[in-house]
């Protein structure tokens, strides 16, 4: 009993001695981030966290950043965003599609706070949207795959049939067809963004069906590890996965949000922020290709040339004419290419893919 008393007294002392007020920097611009996953997912959320750290580092004396991680996309999202607004954040990035309606609602309540929603399509005076042209990197990956494959079968592991994913599949196929007309895709939907077990199973099944190159639109490095074990090649997703496949990774289509976050914070600091719809790619450094590895020099040279062409807008992955799965030529609303609206709402496959878009 005496020992317990002593512990209790000690604990009270610790509590008492350790009081000190929080120090707040009054003049700094407060910038908040809402993440859908944990910062340690090594994929999508991690890349946003890398962007936040870049912002904090670049404008360290002018901004103070905060994040809320693992925020569910249901009823909790609205409160989490509003908490950031109430805490004095003047610029708030909500980094997942599922936060769209919640962001719209909070933005309406806080007209003096600037909101930015990633990958969505609803905007307001104080609500901008931003996304990356992931399909640009996928076109390059398609070309590499078309050159590297011996079996002419590419395995594709996908999450959900949303337009971003469908346009990625199409861009990969168009890239592959530009160098190899005989390429076929095997596609497996795992219905999750992050499920290492299912992703690994899908990878094994695809390899057993003859695929000698894997690509994925899911976030874990599981497929890369399987490719490494089985001695075939694969592409990383969202972040550079070379650690998981030192002999397997050809390149990776990575997201880099740092430049954008720094630009937007600067605009707020200069009083010039306005609601925009940003959709950048290789040109602005929002999509960055991981180093080209494990491939012959001629393939590497081709990949670099294509990357340069897309960066300088000399080549557009969705350049016309494009023929859909049923042999019908697609209308070109963007002149010599598909327009952004067509790419952002894509729910059909290009010719050569013998899968069916789920739910269509």
């Amino acid at each position: 009993m005496k020992k317990l008393n002593i512990i209790a007294v000690l604990a009270v002392l610790v509590l008492g001695v350790m009081t000190f007020g929080a120090v707040h920097a009054a003049d700094k611009l407060k910038v908040g981030f809402i993440y859908v996953g944990p910062v340690g997912d090594l994929g999508y959320t991690y890349q946003h966290e890398v962007g936040r750290r870049a912002l904090q580092k670049a404008l360290n004396d002018k901004v103070e950043t905060t994040y809320l991680e693992n925020v569910p996309e249901g009823a909790d999202a609205e409160r989490a965003i509003e908490q950031l607004a109430r805490a004095g954040n003047k610029l708030i990035f909500t980094t997942s599609f599922g936060f769209m309606d919640a962001t719209v609602k909070v933005a309406a309540k806080y007209p003096n706070v600037f909101f930015e929603h990633a990958t969505g399509f609803k905007r307001a005076k104080n609500l901008a949207t931003y996304a990356a042209r992931f399909y640009e990197g996928r076109y390059i990956q398609g070309q590499i795959a078309g050159k590297m494959t011996k079996s002419n079968i590419i395995g594709y592991i996908v999450s959900f049939p949303i337009p971003e994913v469908i346009s990625g599949i199409n861009a990969t196929m168009l890239g592959a067809q530009s160098v190899n007309p005989n390429v076929k895709f095997k596609i497996i939907w795992v219905n999750s963004w992050f499920d290492p077990g299912k992703e690994a199973d899908a990878a094994k099944a695809l390899i057993d069906q003859g695929a000698d190159i894997l690509t994925q639109h899911t976030d874990s490095p599981a497929a890369m590890q399987i490719a490494e074990q089985r001695g075939i090649h694969a592409f990383g997703q969202s972040s550079d996965m070379i650690k998981f496949g030192p002999h397997a990774q050809l390149t990776a289509d990575t997201d880099y949000w740092g430049n954008y976050y720094i630009d937007r914070a600067k605009l707020v600091l200069d009083g010039k922020w306005k609601s925009d719809d940003t959709w950048d790619g290789l040109d602005k450094g929002m999509v960055v290709m991981a180093p080209y590895t494990n491939m012959p020099d001629d393939v590497k040279a081709m990949a670099k040339k294509t990357e340069e062409a897309i960066r300088t807008h000399a080549l557009h992955p969705f350049k016309c004419p494009i023929v859909d799965q049923n042999g019908k030529t697609v209308e070109c609303k963007g002149g010599d290419r598909l327009d952004n609206g067509q790419i952002l709402s894509m729910n059909w496959y290009v010719k050569g893919i013998d899968d069916k878009v789920p739910g269509q």
Partner: protein
């Protein structure tokens, strides 16, 4: 040498009431030490966690949010407590929650954009409760007629419900103007539960429904024959059989009621704070409610407080992430420590720990 738990002969009422308070006090001390270790002021931390959400000035945004967060947890947990008291194990409230959300949303989607009147919302709530009840009856019927373990079947049906929800929002109910993203259109005002007050808070009529559920649950358990049956079957199944109570009927009843309450919670959540149906509706309330049910001692009034308290730790944890820049994991550790102490205090009140020096020593016969 071995440690044994030995039932105490008598329980002191004072200690029984003090037990949760002791548990909370121990949690505060432990978490305070944890904060001190990572270099944050424990006093400041506890203030952000507990005092700030409760003392938020007018218009009481954070207090309203606590009620919003607690509403589905309390509704589901009251239903679950009926099952658990009777030793019937419904682990699939999450699935019943989702089916309720989907069934109620059916009407909202079908009437979207039409001006059909104010009967839409009440019918949605009824459909939600019905859907949840029917979904809850599946594992109950499997147990009654095939002897299948309701623990397994109710849990597995959660995944079925999840995929069903996924199918509906990606297929037939997808918002035609939503660029093919997996979500229904936003519900019309006639299909939504509005907020009770103007301004930033989101307190809605669903919280009132939750209070009514708590009261009905308390009355039913304490004052009706059905409540007596539930308690008797749980405490003394043999005695219950001798007195002619039908356990199978009770299985069906408790599953139907807990399914209906979970389904109601689902549609309230969708028609209230969320405002549309999408795969994000599945956020684990049905599982968290199991914790709430036990934290509230399977007593509806206790569940009300347990739900509010758990909601407080969620919202305080968010505040701590923002104000103190501590990771989310600390909030989870915190909730874990709290549960640990609650269960430990409970056990130590009912039981005493004894150290047996030699296991073979036989107790004197005349003791």
């Amino acid at each position: 040498m071995q440690l044994v738990l030995e039932r105490r002969a008598e329980r002191s009422t004072v200690v029984a009431i003090a037990s949760p308070l002791i548990a909370i006090a121990l949690t505060l001390v432990t978490i305070g030490i944890l904060f001190a270790i990572i270099g944050k002021s424990p006093i400041e931390a506890l203030r952000v966690y507990f005092v700030e959400p409760l003392t938020d000035p007018y218009p009481f945004f954070l207090q309203q949010e606590i009620a919003v967060k607690a509403t589905p947890l309390v509704m589901i947990a009251v239903g679950l407590s009926l099952c658990y008291i009777a030793n019937i194990w419904n682990i699939g409230a999450e699935g019943q929650f989702l089916v309720g959300a989907v069934c109620g949303s059916w009407l909202a989607v079908k009437t979207n954009g039409t001006d059909v009147g104010h009967w839409v919302l009440p019918v949605m709530l009824i459909l939600g409760a019905l859907g949840g009840a029917i979904y809850g009856l599946i594992p109950a019927l499997c147990r009654v007629y095939f002897g299948a373990s309701e623990i397994l079947t109710s849990l597995m049906l959660v995944y079925v419900a999840n995929l069903g929800l996924d199918y509906m929002v990606r297929g037939p109910w997808r918002d035609p103007h939503g660029l093919n993203f997996p979500t229904t259109a936003a519900f019309d005002p006639a299909a939504s539960i509005g907020t009770l007050f103007e301004g930033p808070g989101r307190l809605h009529a669903g919280s009132i429904i939750a209070l009514v559920v708590v009261m009905l649950g308390a009355v039913m358990l304490g004052r009706t024959l059905m409540g007596f049956q539930i308690r008797l079957v749980g405490a003394a199944p043999r005695a219950a059989r001798f007195s002619g109570f039908d356990t199978n009927k009770l299985v069906l009843f408790t599953f139907a009621v807990s399914g209906a309450l979970a389904g109601l919670a689902g549609i309230v959540e969708v028609a209230g704070p969320i405002g549309h149906l999408d795969p994000g509706v599945a956020s684990g309330y049905g599982f968290t409610a199991i914790i709430v049910a036990f934290l509230g001692r399977l007593n509806p009034i206790g569940i009300l407080f347990a739900g509010l308290f758990l909601a407080l730790t969620f919202i305080g944890g968010e505040g701590a992430q923002i104000a103190l820049k501590v990771p989310l994991d600390l909030t989870k550790v915190f909730q874990g420590i709290l549960l640990f102490y609650v269960l430990a205090c409970d056990s130590l009140i009912a039981y005493r720990v004894r150290l047996l020096r030699t296991a073979r020593k036989v107790a004197p016969a005349n003791a």
